[in-house]
Amino acid sequence: MAAQFHLEIITPTKVYDEGEVDYLRAPGVDGAFGVLAGHTESIMALAIGEIKVVKGSVEKSYASTKGFAEITRNGVQLLVESAEPQGDIDLNRAQEAFDRAKAHLNQKQDEMEDELRALRALERSMNRLKVAEKK
C-alpha cells in the first residue's frame, strides 16, 4: 500500500474533503501535473481543467476553474473558484453556456473585453462538457 496524503478541494461555496488519497492530477497553468504523497511543498497556479483523484481503486473527476494548489507536508489543498464532481455537472447548462459563448464569438465583437469573457466562458463550458462526458 503506497503512502497516502490528505486532499481538500476548497471553493468559496463548498469544501470537498476527499480524505486520504493516493494520487491527484491537477491542471497547472503549464500543463497537468501529478501529485503523490511526499511532494515538495509548493504553490501552483491552476488553469481551467479537470481534477482527477485516485483513492484505492476509485477514481473521481471534478471540472474546475482557475485557482491554485497549496501542497504542504500535511496534505494538499486545492483552492479553486468552482469545482463540480463529475456527476453533479449540469449538462444542459454547460451546453447552453457553450452555445451562447460560441454565438457571441461568431458575431464579430469589436470589444476586446467582451471577447475575452466569451472565450473564457467557452473554455469553462467546454471543460465541463469534457469532464461530464468522460466515462
Binding site: P12, D30, S42, G67, F68, L79
Partner: protein, 285 residues
C-alpha cells in the same frame, strides 16, 4: 367618545398588519440563516487565499502588478452596498448618510460611485452623484458569479485608469442585533497584517510573479463575495429585528385599543341602563 364600530375596524387593521410583520420577520430569519451558512462556507477559502497572499506580497515588486501599484489618488471610486427593499429599520439610512459624508469629504466631483442594491442607486442618483455602475434585483438569488461580475467590472475600470483608489462601504454583520458600517480599501490591494503568516518555504510553479498574478483577482473576487454576504446577512438581521419590534408595537397598540373599546362598550351599556331605569322611574310616578 370614539364609536365602537370605528375602534373595532382599527383593531382589525392592526391585526392584519401584525400578521404581515410577523410573516416578514420569519422570512427574514430564514434568509438570515441561509446567509450565515454561506458566510461559514466562504471562510476557509478566503482565509487560505489571504494567508498565501500575505506570505507572498513582501517579496513582490509592487510596481510590476497593476493591481498592486499605488498611484496618486486623484479620482476615487466608492462601492456602496445597500438593500433593494426597505422595511429593515435604519439599515440603509445609516449607511447612506455615512457614505455621503465620506464621499463629500473626498470631494463629490472626484468621486465615482458603484451602487450595489437599489436603495443606494436611488439615493445617490437623485442627488447628482456620478454613479457609473449599479446593480439591483439580485439579492434573492445571490451567488458567487454576482461577486465575480462586480469584481471584474470594478477592476477593469480601475485598470482603464477611470479611478485610482477604490473603497467599499458596507454593513458588516456583527450579530443579529448589530451591524457595523465598514470602509474597506479594495484597490490598490493592501493587506492588513493580521492574517496568520505562512512560514513554509514553498516552491512556486510557474513562478512567484505568475502565482501572484493569478491570486490577486481570486482575492478580489472572494472579498467582493464576502462584502455581499456580510451585507446580505446584516440586512436580513436588521429586517428581522425591526419587524420583531413592529410586531410587538402592533400588539401593544391592539391592547390599548381593546381597553378603549371595552371602556366605550361599558359606557354605552351604562347609558342604556340609565335610560331604562329613569324611564321606569318616570312610569312609577
Amino acid at each position: 367618545m370614539a364609536n365602537l364600530k370605528d375602534i373595532r375596524k382599527r383593531i382589525g387593521t392592526i391585526e392584519s398588519i401584525k400578521q404581515v410583520t410577523r410573516a416578514m420577520k420569519l422570512v427574514a430569519a430564514a434568509k438570515l440563516r441561509r446567509a450565515q451558512i454561506n458566510m461559514e462556507q466562504a471562510r476557509p477559502y478566503a482565509g487560505r487565499i489571504h494567508g498565501v497572499l500575505n506570505h507572498l506580497l513582501p517579496d513582490i515588486d509592487r510596481t510590476s502588478h497593476n493591481l498592486l501599484t499605488m498611484r496618486p489618488a486623484q479620482q476615487k471610486a466608492f462601492v456602496i452596498l445597500t438593500s433593494d427593499r426597505g422595511l429593515c429599520g435604519s439599515f440603509n439610512t445609516n449607511i447612506l448618510r455615512q457614505a455621503e459624508n465620506i464621499i463629500n469629504a473626498a470631494g463629490k466631483e472626484n468621486s465615482k460611485l458603484i451602487c450595489i442594491g437599489r436603495k443606494g442607486y436611488e439615493y445617490f442618483g437623485k442627488r447628482g452623484y456620478d454613479v457609473v455602475e449599479h446593480y439591483a434585483d439580485f439579492w434573492n438569488e445571490l451567488n458567487f458569479s454576482h461577486a465575480t461580475t462586480m469584481a471584474r467590472a470594478v477592476t477593469s475600470r480601475y485598470l482603464a485608469g477611470e479611478f485610482d483608489d477604490v473603497r467599499v462601504i458596507f454593513n458588516e454583520f456583527k450579530n443579529v442585533a448589530q451591524q457595523e458600517i465598514v470602509e474597506y480599501h479594495y484597490l490598490p490591494l493592501v493587506l492588513e497584517d493580521d492574517a496568520e503568516s505562512v512560514s513554509t518555504d514553498y516552491l512556486f510553479e510557474p513562478s512567484k510573479d505568475e502565482v501572484v498574478k493569478s491570486l490577486v483577482p481570486r482575492h478580489l473576487n472572494i472579498q467582493m463575495w464576502r462584502f455581499l454576504l456580510e451585507s446580505n446577512a446584516a440586512e436580513q438581521a436588521a429586517r428581522m429585528t425591526s419587524m420583531e419590534a413592529a410586531t410587538n408595537n402592533a400588539g401593544d397598540l391592539i391592547d390599548s385599543l381593546r381597553l378603549e373599546y371595552n371602556k366605550a362598550r361599558q359606557a354605552a351599556i351604562t347609558t342604556e341602563i340609565l335610560e331604562v331605569v329613569s324611564g321606569a322611574e318616570a312610569l312609577v310616578e
